[in-house]
Point group: D2
Chain length 342, copies 4
Amino acid sequence: MLILMRLGATEEQIQEVCDAIKARGFDPLLLPGEDRRAVGVPAALSNDQKVDLEGVISRLPGVSKITQTSSPFKLASIEYHPNPTVIPVKDVEIGTDEFVVFGGPCSVESYEQFSTAAKMVKEAGSKVLRGGAFKPRTSPYSFQGLQEEGLRIIQQVGKETGLATISEVMAADMVETVAEYVDILQIGARSMQNFPLLIEAGKSGKPVFLKRGPAATIDEFLLASEYLLNQGNENVILCERGVLPIDRTYVRNTLDLNSVPVLKELTHLPVIVDPSHGVGVARYVPAMAKAAMFAGADGVMIEMHPDPREALSDGSQALDPATFSQLLGEFKQLAPIAGKRF
Amino acid sequence: MLILMRLGATEEQIQEVCDAIKARGFDPLLLPGEDRRAVGVPAALSNDQKVDLEGVISRLPGVSKITQTSSPFKLASIEYHPNPTVIPVKDVEIGTDEFVVFGGPCSVESYEQFSTAAKMVKEAGSKVLRGGAFKPRTSPYSFQGLQEEGLRIIQQVGKETGLATISEVMAADMVETVAEYVDILQIGARSMQNFPLLIEAGKSGKPVFLKRGPAATIDEFLLASEYLLNQGNENVILCERGVLPIDRTYVRNTLDLNSVPVLKELTHLPVIVDPSHGVGVARYVPAMAKAAMFAGADGVMIEMHPDPREALSDGSQALDPATFSQLLGEFKQLAPIAGKRF
Amino acid sequence: MLILMRLGATEEQIQEVCDAIKARGFDPLLLPGEDRRAVGVPAALSNDQKVDLEGVISRLPGVSKITQTSSPFKLASIEYHPNPTVIPVKDVEIGTDEFVVFGGPCSVESYEQFSTAAKMVKEAGSKVLRGGAFKPRTSPYSFQGLQEEGLRIIQQVGKETGLATISEVMAADMVETVAEYVDILQIGARSMQNFPLLIEAGKSGKPVFLKRGPAATIDEFLLASEYLLNQGNENVILCERGVLPIDRTYVRNTLDLNSVPVLKELTHLPVIVDPSHGVGVARYVPAMAKAAMFAGADGVMIEMHPDPREALSDGSQALDPATFSQLLGEFKQLAPIAGKRF
Amino acid sequence: MLILMRLGATEEQIQEVCDAIKARGFDPLLLPGEDRRAVGVPAALSNDQKVDLEGVISRLPGVSKITQTSSPFKLASIEYHPNPTVIPVKDVEIGTDEFVVFGGPCSVESYEQFSTAAKMVKEAGSKVLRGGAFKPRTSPYSFQGLQEEGLRIIQQVGKETGLATISEVMAADMVETVAEYVDILQIGARSMQNFPLLIEAGKSGKPVFLKRGPAATIDEFLLASEYLLNQGNENVILCERGVLPIDRTYVRNTLDLNSVPVLKELTHLPVIVDPSHGVGVARYVPAMAKAAMFAGADGVMIEMHPDPREALSDGSQALDPATFSQLLGEFKQLAPIAGKRF
């Protein structure tokens, strides 16, 4: 932490800052400056440190600006854990040089619909099957999913196809239930800072697929993953799915592909991109999915519906089977050039 | 819903759009146009309508753009409920011409701290006492609140002072517990779209104080309140607490005071402004609190700590007792000119 | 400037950073740290410093993060110029305890329209008359203003009413022309970083009214003013006019009133708020104008049209004469409580 | 244009809306609705239409919401001009299946530096040479470019290497000068809505490279291009260079690759991506450049400096020669799979 004093701050003011730092058990370090002084706190704040030192110092007279110098996340940081995390789920490993495609419909609508979709995504080359059972919907009047009935369908279809399965869990008290039925717990963008949910999902030990909130900074995203890791669960997969757009006229979100190389440099966790939500319009999804591969993602999550025109939710962003299959064919061609296997 | 066709869309394409609309039980209305045609769906989609008509139509060839014409929220809308909602809590009514000040510390830290704070806010003119027991914190290493012990302190201090009390609930399975101890359930900005929590809080029948998410549109905010209202709970209070800022160099959020007159025109629910989170810096809070009164808010929520330099959380945004008291004195002077009582 | 090294940075990497700093004429200062080291550059970079030191250092191996510690603006800073700047224009001084209202139509449409508007705004209590002659319009097909004919009308009406006048200049080569006709040069939000224009306006010596760009940070805004001040022109007025909104469904911009107390603490320049553009909807303007007064603004700029339904531009945000007059009446009542004269 | 009336709007209010539409020469069309009525204006507003009909209607009592149904841009629209625009410059055509790389340093610093850079970018496979002579800089204290001396160097090096050249023009009165020295005029992101500059650049007939402003919507971007096209200049190249980021901790902008397929569907103009500014950090540039190719861009603009550590501006985002050359090598491998030549 570095505390910059205002121009003309008095010796008494600087002394008061130093005293406040010492009173909380740290060593202040006085830094010279031509036109203004600064005070450093060289010690890294340890993980169990609860003192709101910034809150205290920021109110002292003569203080101009405080800069945090130590990284706020530790367990997620590549500095503390230099090797990439690899997460095995059924037949697939996430986080290796294999490009992993998560495919399937937005919502599980019926056994027939989901089973049909599963066969198609498997045939095309996906190894993870997605399907929503509990759906977070902006309006209470929209289709809310088949709920536990949906989970049973996912489990059954997962067994029949051998695909790994993923579905969203929306509340801490549902983690145990969802964890019984699926292989990977998804935490949605709106739940990225649902801390009780993060803690329970962390405790479950199950692989967790954490989506970035649409207005979350990179640090906030990694601190959310830190809640999971801090419970001893190392099986955390990050997902970029689009941020708040400048305008919503033509797309639903702005897919932030910049975040992929940034995350790969900061953390050892695998990074998956969801272009379906990140754009929100089916006909733009293939371009952005291929862009994601070259941005450095470990895989993508793509919505596909056997008949998108009949989808009960998010029909406008799901690929039809032929387009999905063609896209995965292109992945096969592109993967070696991107340094990946598919 | 209005569907604009692309320039040069064929008769067949227009027919296909009309057929899709009819197949889902609606009447299409063909609109002429000089250079392009449009199709209207005049019926208001009813509340129990689950068809994703927009998803269906958006994929049809020749379709350029779809515009929703009916308001997505009903129960929250002033069009369906023209009289302002008034919510009585203990001695105070929220939503009348009385300007209501919610005051108190960010976190309950001890009986002594909270009791001292409560006496000060009451003495200054607050009628609602705030205090966090379960704290949503960006980092797992920050102080997480006294939890249920904090709730017991709030309940006791509420009884001793006669103040109405409010505290945050972060998960659906905690609603019952928190509701036993406090008068108003707060749903924080990060939980605005925690739908299981909204449903449980709705069912509780308790007054609910719903904070706008930092990237939520007005429609998303009102649809979140619709989840509460839809459970038969009419005691909903809206809170503007700042949106994603252009830059974070000098403030934590951008307090969106524009939203106050907009919300007052769209909904019958009371609107409270939280300038403490909306700015995040104590010395800017009084100016923004007064601005909020003239923007048309029904009240404000202000953080105050008996000794902000010793606060365990958010010390940088809490007012000290003297500043808090002076601000409420200014409210007394200003209220009559703003058409309010205080 | 503070350079934080990565965890595990080698002695050689730290040495390379120090060498690069020395090679550009500065003294590096090595700071200890428990888990990582940092290097400080205590000297304030002087104003004529052209070295891109950050660019150089950021590429060196082992460097984690660079923090600027000195304020990038000097002439605009209150630290270097503690007394508020007061700008006299005709009968009014901007930047004192007098609350100054800039009023008038979006565009000058004819002598009759502008003259009528001018009498109304003067009668209501405005001291500065606004009117657009050269109009920046998003579409080339919208009304572009009466151009020089408009300026002649402004000058004539200014003389007849005795009001100070302000109009926008959009290009460096038009500064001289516009400066002949009006008392204050307005630089619009879209031109905030039109640097050749800023330099010419600075050279003119005329009072300049600089609007904040809709996505500009506070530092970028003050650096734009620095371009004006750096030409020896001390007559700079800042204007907050709304930033990029979270959604555009109900408003055109988000009026960032937080910026008012922030700017008043950072700079000695007067700060005016434009709620007309900041909201973009006439019926929300009065609430936000009063909010601006209590946020600490030195005045407001309000659009008024004698008959808004016939306005050639921005008719949806102009107040009608009765509402304008009533609002200024309220300012009279409120000013003393806000510590202002009106 | 579609005007939605409020719930319970009276017959008189609907009549008043219809009358206002008729009074301005259009035909209103009354639309039925179950719970509310709407009025349509079927005629496309013609390009020379100056009436602010939306401003007029939006103020009438009983009006709830106005939706524009016709596309605001015409000349840029693919609907009116279905074939892709191809722009020949020296030996290269922009807008064909050839992937075009614009390469070179941020600023021209000397003949030696620029000449060295030019040979390197040509050798690597670039066909367009970029270099800033007049530099828009946030701070007046930063290096402002070599100005006209820089243009002379660009012209000379362009002749020596045979590369097409591009450099930024910042003001209308400089268009003629810059156009004498370079092959393509660049209009920077901060100047996207500098309308006098757009008009002059349009009149020049020269190819114009128009960068999207960091907070510009797609419609605003295309309307800016409309200013150029409207002067009879069909040689317009669009450039996506990053939008306002959620946070600036690790990148300077958010490269909005979603905009590429959206623009390709809306307009016939070529679309180039600038990942150097779009990320702002050299080591993330190659990943985003390849992502841009697969997003569907017609080319990229990449900053390269012979020795980035000595760059006078933006050194942190320029590639070094080896990395630049390697990236273009990868383009050669990738282009056929992306359906491009390189």
